[in-house]
Structures are given as C-alpha cells and as structure tokens.
C-alpha cells in the first residue's frame, strides 16, 4: 500500500490548484528593492545635506531619530504583534545617558549647573560612570535592552499579551516621567538636561557639526533598517510572524514564544535607546516631556500612518508625521493635535496598512493594468 497514488480524478474541486506558483515577491521586497533603497540613501546622504538649510537639516535629523524608534515599533508591533506604547521610556533612557555624559563634560569636573541650583553638593554615584562617553553610549543601548528584557521575561512568561501588555508599557512611561520629575536634583526635573555646547570637542552649534550629526543619524538608521530587514527574512523573522499570528500554535512547534517576544522587544528597545542618545546632541535637550505617554503614543500613530507591517512604512511614517507636525504648527498653532487624531482614525479605518499599504496596492493595480494592456 503506497501513498503515491497520484491525484485521483476525485481530487476535490474546491482545492485551489495553480498551474505554476507565481513568483510573487513578499510585500517588503516590493517596497524596498535595492534600487529604491539606494535612491533613498542618496537622497538622504547627498541631496539633503546639500540642499537643505541648516535649520531644516537639523529638523530632518530629529525626524530620523524618531524614525529609528519607529523602526523598533514596526518590528515589535507590526511584525511581532506587541503593541508598544511606552517606547519613550527606552528613548529617554538612551537620551538621559547621553545627556548625563554631555552635562558632566560641560561641568568639567564640577557639578552640573542644575545640581548646584538644586543644592546638591556631591555628584550622585549614579552619575559617576557617565563621565565616560563609551560607557554612556553602551548604556544608551544596553540599558534599554536589559530593561525590556527583564520586563519581557516577567510579562511574556506569564502570557500577558495584547491590550494588557500595551497598557503595561504605557504605565511604565507614565511612571518614568513621574520619577524623573520628582528627583529634581538627580535628573533636572521638568526641565530635563540641556545647555550642551560641545560633543567630542566639536561645537554643537556649528553647522558643520550638525551636518555631521545628521549624517551619523542617517547612516545609523540605514544600517538598522538593513539589519532589521535581514532579521525579518531569517527563520527568526518567520518565527516572529508565526508568534504574532498564532502564539499558542507556536508552542506546539516546540518554541517558547516568550523568548521570541522578549528578544524582539529588547531589540526594539535598544533601537529606541540609541535614537535617544542621537537625539540629544541633535536637538540639544532631553526632558520628561519628550518621553512620556504622549510622545510615545505619537510615535505609534506615526508608525500606523506610515504602515506598521512594513519597516520602510514605519520610517516613512515617523518622517512624514514629524514634518507634518512642524509644517502645521508653523501655520496653525493648535491644529496639529486634531489633525493627528483625525489622521490616525482615518488610517486605522480606511487603510490599516498605512501609506506603505497604499503604495503596495497602487503598484499592484498598476502592474495588473499593464498586464491586461
């Protein structure tokens, strides 16, 4: 009795049969072919620094920092199904690490200015290691990863997920702000850390320094994007999607979804931390207002608008929403919040795949029309 009986005439008519499997490239490949990537990279690395005035270039650098956070959100939320609405915590952790280094460098052996105003007399032990730029940079990435790893281990093992996990990340963001504001002498309170003048011997106010910083941010974003894309195409990426679509089934494949989710969450947190560290010299400040609940949510909205299922979409969303915010705020001071909310609702109801999804649909329509012609 062999099982090689070929398709008997009784093969059910309902079974979809395809003469030849169409070589349909996966959606992310369509969105980010090497050509498109090169074009965007040239635009960002060559055209933008040449064409944009320093003020605009600095703003773009800021958006690109947000885009790095967005990339992490796209990874955790779009691919891994973990709605992270408290990424500001990790962004802030990276930002404060960098801010503390800059502050100590500025003070040159004395106490940072705000500590003097707050009546602090000796440098707190927590601050001491941040005198080293290397430690600060490593901590900016490793700190958030460790925190996310710890949180993920505690939470995902207990099978907390969905809205409960989302609320937890948000609560963490809220608690962090309260903590930062409350410890004025240690953190600079509501004002945060600011008044930075120098980074690695370069004048932060100089156009040249800012152009260099912009390039660093753009390159970091590009490298992280390529890395994330590679990760998604690996077996780990397939596993991540499987966890998103059927966590319980994944267990019966012999994988522990908690590990997969924790690792991904940690990677997205590391990205946010690095973004925070880059953000501080670009923008010149890190404060609780930049990392609380609202900024965290705004980034999620931006990723949703850009298209959370696509890494390129997540980046696009962060940049577009950043620019839109600036443009709008320049014209109508208060209008932006309403527009942002409306945009979010429209995208979620009408185009859940965001701008990237619209682009994909447009391309499919275009190619099918060409095929018919």
């Amino acid at each position: 009795m062999t099982a090689t009986t070929p398709q008997t005439p009784a093969t059910p008519a309902t079974a979809p049969r395809f003469a030849a499997p169409p070589p349909a490239p996966p959606w992310w490949a369509r969105l980010g072919g090497p050509a498109a990537f090169t074009a965007v990279a040239l635009l960002a690395l060559v055209a933008a620094p040449l064409l944009l005035e320093p003020f605009r270039l600095n703003l773009l650098a800021k958006y690109l920092c947000y885009a790095i956070v967005g990339l992490g959100i796209g990874l955790a939320w779009g691919q891994g199904g973990m709605l992270v609405i408290g990424q500001g915590v990790f962004f802030g952790l990276g930002g404060y690490a960098m801010g503390m280094y800059l502050k100590l460098h500025e003070a040159g052996g004395d106490l940072p200015d705000f500590m003097v105003w707050s009546g602090v007399e000796r440098l707190p032990a927590l601050w001491a290691p941040f005198a080293s730029p290397a430690f600060s940079l490593v901590f900016a990435v490793a700190g958030p990863m460790a925190l996310a790893g710890l949180l993920g281990t505690l939470v995902f093992r207990r099978r907390v997920r969905g809205a409960y996990f989302a609320i937890l990340t948000q609560a963490l963001a809220a608690a962090t702000v309260i903590l930062l504001v409350g410890r004025q002498g240690l953190t600079g309170g509501t004002n945060g850390l600011t008044n930075f003048f120098e980074l690695f011997g370069q004048d932060l106010a100089a156009d040249g320094t800012q152009r260099g910083l912009y390039l660093v941010v753009a390159v970091v974003l590009g490298v992280l994007y390529l890395g994330a894309r590679q990760l998604l195409r690996s077996r780990f990426g397939r596993l991540l999607i499987a966890v998103r679509d059927g966590e319980d089934r994944v267990r019966f494949l012999g994988y522990d979804p908690a590990t997969v989710k924790t690792l991904t969450f940690a990677v997205s947190a590391g990205m946010a931390g690095l973004a925070g560290a880059l953000f501080v010299p670009v923008v010149g400040i890190i404060s609780p207002a930049l990392l609380g609940v609202v900024p965290s949510l705004e980034l999620v909205v931006a990723v949703a608008v850009g298209g959370r299922f696509s890494l390129a979409g997540a980046i696009l969303g962060a940049v577009v929403m950043g620019q839109a915010r600036t443009t709008f705020s320049e014209q109508f001071a208060d209008g932006w919040l309403y527009l942002q909310g409306a945009l979010f609702i429209v995208v979620m109801t009408l185009a859940p795949r965001g701008l990237a999804g619209l682009a994909g649909t447009a391309r499919e329509m275009w190619s099918s029309r060409r095929a018919r012609a």
């Binding site: 009795m1 062999t2 099982a3 009986t5 398709q7 008997t8 009784a10 093969t11 059910p12 309902t14 079974a15 979809p16 049969r17 395809f18 499997p21 070589p23 590679q230 990760l231 195409r233 690996s234 077996r235 780990f236 397939r238 596993l239 999607i241 499987a242 679509d245 059927g246 319980d248 089934r249 994944v250 267990r251 019966f252 494949l253 012999g254 994988y255 522990d256 590990t259 997969v260 690792l263």
Partner: protein, 273 residues
C-alpha cells in the same frame, strides 16, 4: 509494563467541578497505531490536551519514555518528542507552505542559529512536502490552502519534527470523501514508522484504518482492544446507540449523558487488557 512509550495512569481532569476525565489509564507501545473513540464529551480531546500540557491534570500521571510530563510547558513536551495536531487546523497563513514546514523542522536549532536566512529547502522538508502532496503549492502562502490541505500541512509539520509520538485530533473531520481517502493513506504511511494516536469520530474511517481501539466514555476508558472486538462489544454499542430506555447517549450532547453514567460501565471499568 516496561518499555511502554506512553503510560497514562489514573489521569483526571476537572473543569469547574465537572470531571472531564475520571481516572483514565492508557498504555501505548512503541510502533502502535491507536485509535481513540467515544461519544461527544467522552474526554478524548481532554486526554490529548492533558498529555501535551495544554490542560493541567487534577490527578494521576502521564509518563512518556519513563519521564513524567506533569507540570512541563507545552514546548518542552514537544521537545521531548510528543507532537500533536488540532481539530481546527492552525497553520501560519502569512507564511508559505515551505516556510511553515521549515519553521517546524528548525525547532531544535538554537535560537541564535535562526537568525541566519533559510537557503533552499532541506531534504527533510522536501520529503515531507512529497509525502503530504503539497509540493506544487510549496511557495504559496498557507492562507490559500483548502481545509484538507491545511490538515495535511499540519501533519507534515509534525513529521518534519520526527516526534516519537504523534497525536492527531480528528484529522478527517470536515473532509470530503476524496480527502479522507488521501488522509487515510497518509496515516498508513506515517504509522509505518511512527507511534500514532488518532482521535476519530468517523466510523467508516475507523473500520478502514484502525487496528487497536480505545473507547472513552464519560471520562473513563470503557473498552480497549482490536477493532472487531470493540465493535461487537455490547457496552460500546450501548454508548454509541443509546439504550432503549434512555435514548440520551446517541451522541447528541455531552451534558445529559452524565445522568446515565454509573450503570453503564462496571466500576473500575478501565482495566481491560
């Protein structure tokens, strides 16, 4: 008994006071193909759930190759070599057929090794594709598969994991006649070199492919033995066809049957062997 692959002893599962399993004993030897039947609510799926770690037993033991499975997480039990399918097949619709199989096949790789990209199709996966007859659809997303094809894919995902015990929960439920036929062939082929437990409702399928059968009824083992012997057993006929005076056990619902219980099986009725 020594050398048994699976030994379930006095297993009980309680849901909110309802005893879904009330002391089940089950012994499966290596190489066996065992069918598990019983009316609705008999506890077949619950038994499989308890073996695979999805449900916590209230009492009793499950030993697989001499190791106690109690308290282990689902994925750990899979790693010990126990694989299962579900009544409603769950394949990853966003992944292609090959990716589904490849992911299943990679489960013993360390996590860091998963970060590398898949290159081509491993022999294991190619072999499984051939066995389950989905080679043509290899690069299609699993979301386009028909119900029957999904079940085959799930079985394929089990095969590539080379489990020492396969538990199939109603593999032919909802299938067309032709699909049943193919599933039967698939089952025969798999059973040749695997130990398999199949839950099945379909009597025709049972008659064609089963040899040894265990009948569950109201959370206990009612009868166990070769298929002919089980079929002719008056207790089994009673459970499936209902007794003239009570008509409730015809398999319509699980709940009311509880009223008829005690008289149906002699106390301790699990010990047939």
């Amino acid at each position: 008994m020594n050398g048994a692959l699976l030994e379930v002893r006095d297993l009980s599962v309680v849901f909110d006071g309802y005893r879904a399993l009330a002391g089940v004993d089950l012994t499966v030897q290596p190489g066996e193909l065992r069918f598990l039947i019983g009316p609705n609510g008999a506890g077949k799926t619950t038994l499989v759930d308890a073996i695979t770690g999805l449900t916590r037993p209230a009492g009793g033991t499950v030993r697989f190759e001499g190791r106690d499975l109690a308290g282990r997480a689902e994925h750990e039990i899979v790693r010990l070599g126990v694989g299962r399918t579900f009544q409603t097949s769950v394949v990853f619709e966003g992944l292609t057929v090959v990716e589904n199989l490849d992911l299943a096949a990679s489960f013993r790789r360390p996590l860091w090794a998963l970060v590398r990209r898949r290159r081509g199709v491993s022999d294991q996966v190619a072999g499984a594709l051939e066995i389950i007859g989905l080679a043509e659809l290899a690069d299609r997303p699993a979301g386009v598969l028909s119900h029957g094809q999904r079940q085959w894919l799930e079985i394929g995902m089990l095969i590539v994991q080379a489990p020492r015990l396969l538990l199939l929960d109603e593999p032919v439920a909802g299938m067309s006649a032709a699909e049943r036929e193919r599933t039967g062939e698939l089952l025969t082929r798999i059973a040749a070199d695997h130990t398999v437990i199949v839950i099945e409702h379909d009597m025709e399928f049972l008659r064609r492919y089963a040899s040894a059968v265990t009948v569950l009824h109201e959370g206990r083992v009612l009868v166990e033995g070769p298929v002919d012997q089980v079929r002719d057993d008056p207790r089994v006929q009673e459970v499936y066809l209902g007794r003239p005076r009570e008509g409730a056990a015809g398999g319509a619902t699980g709940g009311p049957v509880a009223a008829v219980t005690a008289a149906a099986a002699p106390p301790g009725g699990g010990g047939t062997e």
